[in-house]
């Protein structure tokens, strides 16, 4: 949980008082209510939909509040091939998201171009936007996406800043 339970067992407070830092509380809240912005373009989007649907049910991990407006979300899931015509759109959507924001690059195409080494395809979105977690696979299974969301949660708990923030201060 990332929270320290002080006094528990000592009998002084009956475990009703928790001392922590503001950062930790905020991060704990953030981690359990990630609002993803699905930027689904191709095959991976179908697996992303499967992750959200009945069998895999991403809401078990607090991320079911899918927001199609970037201004309301803090986790961008880039799933699918990004062409040179699409990249400016993606960049703009990323810029519109409020800080702090995390980015998952889902699948081989978004991460490195995948099998499509062609004239029109961006060979990895990380050339243009900072990516926190990459998911390999073509397409990755829903379990992989869930794992990536958990990794973002871990990253938040550990207090590390998102890649986007690091990039600004570098």
């Amino acid at each position: 949980m990332g929270l320290d339970f002080v006094g528990q067992g000592a009998g002084q407070t009956d475990g009703n008082i928790i001392t922590t830092t503001i950062d930790k509380v905020v991060n704990w809240g953030r981690k359990n209510s990630l609002w993803p912005m699905p930027f689904g373009t191709a095959c991976c989007a179908i697996e992303m939909m499967a992750t959200l649907a009945s069998k895999f049910d991403l809401s078990r991990f607090g991320s079911e509040a899918i927001r199609f407006s970037p201004r309301q979300s803090d986790l961008l899931i880039v799933s699918g091939r990004i062409s040179i015509k699409m990249m400016p759109v993606l960049k703009r959507i990323y810029d519109q998201m409020p800080d702090p924001k995390w980015v998952i690059s889902m699948g081989a195409c978004a991460s490195c171009g995948g099998v499509f080494d062609t004239y029109t395809l961006i060979q990895g979105v990380d050339q243009f936007i900072p990516v926190d977690v990459y998911i390999p696979g073509c397409p990755p299974r829903p379990e992989d996406l869930i794992d990536a969301v958990l990794q973002v949660q871990q990253k938040i708990t550990s207090g590390a800043s998102p890649k986007g923030v690091e990039a600004v201060y570098e």
Partner: protein
């Protein structure tokens, strides 16, 4: 071109719909010119997912390209695999074994179910019926597990090979599929209960986005969108390929060509597909799944690992210039994919790589006809019509 703001000073308003919008399922973009709530003009834009499939076809050999066809219509990759290898086989002038043909039909019809199910889920989701989405995916996951057991992958199946399929059906496949097609009509009935007589659903789809049969042909619509206008054309019937003439099924048609008819046609097609699957399972013959032609098909894995002849055979088939090499010429082969006519036009120069591969995608022409269906309607119809067309961006832009 004037910017949107300048135009809005008059009576009209320009609304940019997409490319990133929940109802565009990816990367479609429509620029709508509105007068109040009614659509004066709609301009669809394509190309946001252009991947260069056709160019890639000139650089990959015939079996490698199967991987690319998976990623074209990612709702039903098995149909794409099927359509592509059929074109190459016709170019080569070979016919695959009876068992292989039946397996391919089986998989193509199951993937038609998967395609229509996803269409159903998302089209209903766009109009606010969230439960249908969950119901559809529940059934889809069952199909996925059959696909995964057969091909090794949930989505990117790459199951067919030139001259055969990757491997025979797994043990117990028949029971799994039979169980699925027995239960599926019941599950579909739930959806019928939710939607077919639902007043909101009917209000939002009936009479919305209509197109006449003549216009549909002129625009090049195919598949369920064409059949919803009343044209009973199905390539599986008109030009039966791969033993489709040995199964019986009906071709459902609509009357008005509106979104509601497209919905009904697709729903009925799913039931018909179940019937085809049952017939295939009843009549599937035994025998090999790959043609016996050492220049085309791979040896068994045990042969490739166990005997020097098998190893040499394997090496020769995959080596450039020794494997599948269709004679010089060109060929266009059309198959009935879940969305409509999926055609592959292949030009061969006699080498192991195609000289040119052209893919004729159904979605490209469906998306083009969108303004015809939207103009004069209401802005809220846009989502309903777009949903009913099932435009797949991967196929649209290639």
């Amino acid at each position: 071109m004037q910017s949107g703001l300048e135009r809005a000073t008059g009576e009209k308003m320009v609304l940019n719909f997409g490319p990133q919008h929940p109802a565009t399922h990816g990367t479609l973009r429509i620029v709508l010119e509105l007068d109040g709530e009614s659509v004066l003009k709609a301009t669809p834009h394509a190309g946001y997912l252009h991947t260069g499939f056709e160019k890639l076809g000139e650089h990959l050999d015939y079996n490698q390209y199967i991987v690319v066809t998976d990623r074209m219509n990612y709702l039903s990759p098995l149909s794409n695999n099927f359509g592509y290898v059929l074109a190459v086989e016709q170019l080569l002038g070979i016919e695959v074994t009876k068992r292989c043909q039946y397996i391919r039909i089986l998989m193509a019809e199951l993937s038609r179910l998967a395609d229509h199910l996803l269409w159903l889920g998302t089209a209903a989701l766009d109009l606010g019926a969230f439960s249908v989405f969950l119901y559809s995916f529940r059934e889809r996951e069952k199909l996925y597990s059959i696909f995964e057991k057969t091909t090794g992958a949930r989505l990117t199946t790459s199951y067919t090979r030139v001259g055969g399929v990757l491997r025979d059906l797994y043990d117990g496949c028949e029971e799994d599929v039979r169980q699925f097609v027995t239960n599926f009509p019941k599950a579909l009935k739930e959806t019928h209960t939710l939607l077919t007589k639902n007043r909101i659903w009917m209000d939002r789809t009936k009479g919305v986005g209509p197109i006449s049969a003549d216009d549909a042909i002129s625009y090049g619509l195919t598949g369920p969108c064409l059949r919803a206008t009343g044209v009973a054309h199905d390539i599986r019937k008109a030009e039966p390929y791969s033993s489709y003439d040995e199964v019986t099924f009906d071709v459902p048609v609509g009357t008005n060509g509106d979104a509601y008819d497209r919905y009904l046609v697709r729903m009925e097609e799913m039931i018909q597909s179940c019937g085809i699957v049952t017939q295939v399972l009843d009549n599937i013959p035994d025998g090999p799944v790959n043609v016996e032609d050492n220049k085309i098909t791979m040896p068994d894995k045990s042969d490739a690992y166990g005997h020097i002849e098998g190893l040499i055979h394997h090496f020769k088939v995959v080596m450039d210039g020794h494997g599948v090499q269709p004679p010089k010429g060109d060929h266009y082969c059309a198959t009935e994919s879940p969305n409509g006519e999926l055609g592959f036009y292949i030009v061969s120069d006699g080498s192991g790589t195609a000289y040119r591969i052209r893919i004729r995608p159904p979605s490209f022409l469906h998306f083009q006809a969108l303004p015809h269906m939207l103009e004069g309607g209401m802005v809220s119809d846009t989502v309903a019509v777009l949903g009913s067309l099932n435009v797949i961006a991967g196929e649209l832009d290639r």
